[in-house]
Symmetry: C2
Subunit: 328 residues, 2 copies
């Protein structure tokens, strides 16, 4: 039914081997190449990638395993990864783990079954720990969440520095009781918490933070309780844009005006952080770069397998807006 390489060979009056070579840019005379191309056009032939992969032992496929595509950080990174991949003639298999270690295990298994060429992966803390014991079967670049052991290439933000910058920014603006809300599922949340704690300690101030599940709703309900308690902070640093929207909603529900009753700063320069009055102060991550560089590291690793492990640490950019205006 479907036309195969034999049909093309017949139509072109050559052997299947020649068709294969002509299509892959191998050494074929101009004359035969033209015949093959004509036959391909005439028959509407499209190679069967499953067969090609099986025979060539190359899947030409990149695995991309992230927490949740609806997190704008991962949306943007994924777009960059895909662009790089398709530009290099490779396919992308995308998986959302919802920060669930079981799903991560399942998808890693799938990646192995696909015999992927390489993996871009943002693991949970749980899986990250296991990764330092068990090496993955394919070249892997971790994004957003670094391996402490240094077994895998990775591209991460300088989380401690970025969070420290937010904290110092708030201190300069006159805030003293600066609370923190950080995600509990990834090392990123913990690194940002550490940067937060360090910056406050350095200034002789007392940290006051909470951890919560990485969703806007979890942030909102955690903050609802906090905001209505007597130890409500003057300012709040949160570790991602989901928490940021949760914080704004919780503040409004509690009747808190930003920044008068509560200064607010967070991560990820989404369009709406500028549009929400009075503008939210954020650390902008170089999202496109993170995706692109991760792919670059991966391709280099594929070309030169025994390269030393590299950790690429990118800097965030602080975008100051009205939500952290000077305390009055």
């Amino acid at each position: 039914m479907t036309v195969g390489i034999k049909d093309v060979a017949k139509a072109a009056g050559v052997s299947p081997a020649t068709v294969s070579r002509a299509l892959s840019g191998g050494p074929v005379s101009d004359e035969l190449r033209a015949q093959v191309e004509a036959a391909v056009k005439a028959t509407g032939y499209r190679p069967n990638l499953a067969a090609r992969r099986l025979r060539s032992q190359q899947s030409g496929t990149i695995g991309l395993v992230v927490a949740d595509l609806r997190n704008p950080f991962f949306t943007a990174v994924s777009r960059a990864v895909e662009d790089s991949a398709y530009r290099a003639g490779m396919r992308v298999i995308l998986c959302n783990t919802d920060e669930d270690p079981e799903r991560e295990a399942l998808y890693l298994q799938l990646m192995q079954e696909e015999r992927i060429t390489g993996l871009i992966f943002a693991p949970t803390r749980t899986t990250l720990e296991q990764l330092s014991r068990r090496r993955l079967e394919f070249p892997t670049v971790l994004i957003d969440r670094a391996s402490p052991a240094g077994l895998y290439d990775c591209v991460v933000l300088d989380n401690a520095a970025a969070t420290g910058e937010l904290v110092r920014h708030l201190i300069e603006r006159g805030y003293r009781h600066i609370g923190g809300l950080f995600g509990n599922a990834s090392v990123t949340g913990l690194e940002r918490r550490d940067g937060y704690v360090a910056a406050l300690n350095a200034a002789g101030l007392k940290p006051d933070f909470r951890l919560c599940a990485p969703s806007a709703d979890a942030a909102r309900s955690t903050l609802a309780g906090w905001f209505s308690s007597p130890d409500r902070p003057e300012a709040l640093v949160v570790s991602n844009s989901l928490f940021l929207s949760g914080a704004v909603r919780a503040a409004r529900a509690a009747g808190l005006s930003i920044p008068r009753d509560l200064a607010l700063a967070g991560f990820d320069n989404e369009v709406w952080t500028e549009l929400v009055e009075p503008g939210l102060t954020v650390i902008e991550q170089p999202v496109e770069d993170i995706g692109r560089q991760a792919m670059a590291l991966l391709f280099e690793r594929l070309q030169t397998p025994h390269l030393p492990v590299r950790k690429l640490v990118l800097s965030g950019r602080c975008v100051a807006r009205g939500s952290t205006a000077a305390r009055v």
Copy 2:
């Protein structure tokens, strides 16, 4: 190097055929099944999907081709599609076309090379027209953008009704000069425009709309000119959430207060549309449903190929907020 089905067979003391049957739930005695399972565990065997696909002629892969994952509508739909697919034990190949017909053609070719089981596709107008002439090689469900010819199953919003509802909402609130901004790349934009025109005509009012490229920046610059001209509308209906953010920025840049100087309504109930003061009135689309139903239609089609073509039209829900408060 990598362990294959033969290695498992040897370890289990059975034939490769039995291993294959045991793994696929075929008719195998309990005893041998247990032996195979033990051998799989012992060897760490993972099947090679390329080989399985080639032999079984089933890719177990769904193609998902959308305009841009960064559009929250497609982000949400994609998550729903992926969940359905993985739940059914299928893989998803995701492609972003950026509304470029050439990329669409390229990706459709790729889908054919992957011999995908089925396709979920949001085509541009250009490609949609071609689709009515040339039938795709695989079962296809169109989302967001319907085929007029009725050659493909599809899941769409009732665009005319939804836009009409926004227009009537504005008329009721006292607005008369109601402008429109609609995307020019998809039929969705045009359908929404038609609904807009029809609703205004029905009320004896004059339509005043512009079309533009489907990006926030394009919307912003189109509106910048319009807002500073003497024929600036009192209210504006826009056809997606990218345009909504562009409209808010353009309004602020022009010093227009919402809704006093400009009422605003659009599509897609993103978190931030509630957070941006005074709250933006939107049509909420049943995004999860659109993805889920598209997959449901696809699976039914796979089971029963000769089903008549179905068009599923879902209704939006109007979420009224401050941006369309009654005219004073």
